[in-house]
């Protein structure tokens, strides 16, 4: 054992980073492994959401008129607002990581994480109250008193199908947001316990990847559900 080729990691130059676990040589290597793991998870998420996007695409191509009517039941102003809210939350997430990387005080890191959480909750709030609750009042939630309207004509069932896609896709997306808020809460607790330093901020980095990914999903959901096909017809709100 005396002629071991590599220096013992615990007593190497990274000895000031207690978070370095023994199977890794350096903090750098540990962080890269973590990044790779998160990207692998995100690859499965791409296919998970991809399946829904794909079936949406097929139904839309088969019933373009009904999906246009359904799309016009949604309010662009809330979709656009929520897009902006998520983009801002992505910026504050990036700034939280930047603050940890550059050794800013833990207060700064926590501040940015709290802003990110609040923006995330604002997104969920707008969805729940201004969109889903009002959809319920308007009887356009499938399974909860959905009512066909006369002006839809024979498109009724497929308008309902559009709303099924809308609630399934935005619902799963919102679920990811809720999980993200939970992750951010854990990060705030870790930051408060002085767990992060310019040498060790992998949990922030990896959670950031997840948060930005959820943002990207919304970047596609917004045009596909609210905008595709255009809003210039009189039917738009």
């Amino acid at each position: 054992m005396a002629e071991m080729a590599h220096p013992s990691p615990e007593h190497g130059h990274e000895s000031h980073v207690p978070e370095l676990v023994h199977q890794f040589e350096t903090v750098e290597q540990q962080r890269e492994a973590g990044t790779l793991g998160m990207w692998l998870f995100l690859a499965t998420e791409v296919l998970f959401f991809g399946g829904m996007f794909c079936s949406y695409l097929i139904y839309r191509s088969l019933h373009p008129q009904a999906f246009e009517i359904g799309s016009h039941l949604l309010e662009v102003k809330f979709g656009a607002t929520n897009t902006a809210v998520l983009i801002c939350s992505s910026l504050s997430m990036a700034m939280a990581i930047y603050s940890a990387q550059t050794g800013k005080s833990k207060k700064t890191v926590i501040l940015f994480l709290v802003i990110t959480i609040l923006l995330g909750l604002a997104f969920i709030g707008v969805k729940l109250y201004f969109e889903w609750y009002h959809d319920y009042l308007e009887h356009i939630v499938p399974g909860f008193g959905f009512q066909y309207r006369r002006e839809w004509g024979s498109n009724g069932p497929m308008v309902q199908m559009f709303m099924v896609f809308y609630f399934a896709m935005t619902g799963v997306h919102a679920l990811h947001m809720v999980v993200g808020v939970g992750i951010l809460t854990a990060l705030i607790i870790m930051a408060a316990r002085d767990r992060f330093s310019p040498q060790y901020y992998a949990p922030l980095d990896i959670s950031g990847l997840y948060w930005h990914f959820v943002d990207i999903i919304w970047i596609f959901l917004f045009p596909l559900l609210y905008l595709v096909g255009g809003r210039y017809m009189s039917g738009g709100r």
């Binding site: 790779l36 990207w39 097929i58 088969l62 096909g229």
Partner: protein, 114 residues
């Protein structure tokens, strides 16, 4: 390397760019572009995704295996989408004989279920 620290200026720039693109895609929906409404909306979405992936998700500064995983994810997605659409969009090209349809099996159903 992943050590690379992205300057705040870049983050702010990307953020502003994303907001401008959101405004653009929303505005474009209210102009009659025919089929190009869809094309423009998706092109802007892809542009926004690229900005987020390259800068917020640090892929511009993360070489190596994570990039391969990312390309693989997009590739798998392309396989799934193209094969599903290839089936769904070309079904009516070939007429199906009546006797091949599922309808011919329906009278048998009560016997199977009994």
């Amino acid at each position: 390397m992943s050590e690379h620290i992205v300057p705040v200026k870049v983050y702010i720039g990307v953020w502003a760019g994303l907001l401008v693109l959101t405004g653009l895609t929303t505005g474009a929906a209210y102009i009659d572009l025919g089929v190009f409404n869809t094309v423009v909306a998706l092109a802007i979405a892809v542009a926004k995704m690229t900005l987020v992936v390259l800068f917020f998700m640090h892929v511009k500064y993360t070489p190596g295996i994570p990039r391969i995983v990312m390309v693989a994810a997009v590739f798998w997605l392309a396989i799934m989408m193209s094969l599903m659409l290839a089936d769904e969009l070309t079904r009516h090209w070939t007429p199906v004989a009546h006797s091949w349809g599922a309808g011919v099996l329906l009278p048998l159903l009560p016997h199977v279920l009994r």
